[in-house]
Symmetry: C2
Subunit: 219 residues, 2 copies
DNA sequence: TTATATTTTAATCATTTGATTAAAATATTT
DNA sequence: AAATATTTTAATCAAATGATTAAAATATAA
């Protein structure tokens, strides 16, 4: 009857391609858009249904409840955000400096397309949405990364002055992510329009690695 | 009858001191706490009433509606946040570097006490809460400030390499504010507890001015 | 084609939630 | 103290909102 359609369909496997445009996927896409824009509390399931072009009952038929649908979207969002980070942080080939370049470049491109993701994730994490933080192994991911080892080495060799890897990580993430979180305010202050704002962000792809390097050496 | 009590009481003036502990002020304090923590959409007027230790009807008697109460809190929050900034940015006496030190120091202290303020403000501004951005003269405040003139001079004299004042402002705000926005995530990553996190933030009071200086000179 | 399973809808329910009302309690003025 | 004004409450309303149900429409299998 009301068994999770998702699991059923996934089991078929073969149809996976078709399902990308299926009703279920349509609902998820709509849910993603609305949740990202408004957050959990301000989102009405009716808005998701309307955005997906389906009946409200269908949403509950496929996902049982607003909360379950949200948990799926939240998990996918955090995963999507983290997996790129995980790849870069643990890449054997690249140097620390190259990793900084990659993170700046990848995330500025991602956030230019999806500027709501950071404030969505950080707001919901603050509300402890689904105790997600405790469930995911984010800690090990970052702390055991090659990125961190490289930072440690650079500190040992005296190439980086400030020894705390947290300051290093905070600075990188701050410079990349914050402008997108504050985008409406910053556009209000500057009078810049979206296109011009995005151009500023593109400049930061090159600037942030230079700045981070300067920060590392400064004392 | 249901005339705004606030205006009435303010007119008396003499009682202003007493009113700080009045019912109206108690409701506002509770509203501030709950709105800052949960945001407009997730806040229940009943929660505010409970937090204030009063009846729900009383909230509507004093403030007419959730939205009106919110608008007051939002305005006061933004004002409280901006006025310090305005003071520093337009101080005649201080140099650009001293302004950076002041902003870092003042806001790290403020946000250590009230870490929810940035994500609250920026979330609600993103929802265009009350079209607040258009109403407030934030643009002139920042763009016509002495801070900006000093930045311009420094660029002209070649003391600052990157000419865009927006990058400069973004970098400063990013380094100061972002860690508080991402605090739960960062604590999850690092395993640090609140006290240790706050110690890191205190370190940044001294570090950020050094880093900003390094950024300015880097090319 | 008929029968069965799946998908979708319209209508409705139950709860939550912002707001109101009329009356009670308290304070203030005369 | 009596009269009046102010503050607070309990009870209730109305709209919004998440969820369910039974039936209709559509697809799939026999």
């Amino acid at each position: 009857m009301s068994v999770n359609r998702s699991l059923y369909k996934m089991a078929k496997g073969k149809e996976a391609k078709k399902l990308d445009t299926s009703t279920e996927e349509k609902i998820k896409e709509a849910a993603r858009a609305v949740f990202h824009k408004k957050g959990y509390a301000a989102t009405r399931t009716r808005d998701i249904a309307a955005e997906a072009g389906i009946n409200l009952a269908l949403l509950n038929y496929y996902f049982r409840s607003k909360e379950k649908l949200f948990d799926i979207i939240m998990l996918e969002t955090v995963f999507g955000f983290m997996q790129n980070m995980a790849m870069v942080l643990n890449d054997e080939k690249s140097s620390l400096e190259e990793k900084v370049e990659l993170i700046a470049s990848n995330y500025i491109d991602l956030l230019t397309k999806e500027p709501n993701i950071p404030i969505f994730m950080l707001s919901e994490i603050r509300n402890n949405a689904g105790g997600l933080l405790e469930k995911l192994p984010i800690r090990q991911l970052v702390m055991n990364s090659i990125f961190f080892k490289q930072h440690q080495e650079a500190v040992a060799k005296g190439k980086i002055v400030e020894p705390s890897p947290m300051h290093f990580l905070m600075n990188l993430l701050s410079l990349v992510i914050f402008p997108f979180i504050a985008q409406p305010l910053l556009q209000g202050i500057s009078g810049l329009h979206e296109t011009q704002f995005n151009k500023l962000m593109q400049e930061r792809k090159k600037l942030i690695p230079v700045w981070v390097k300067a920060i590392m050496k400064s004392k």
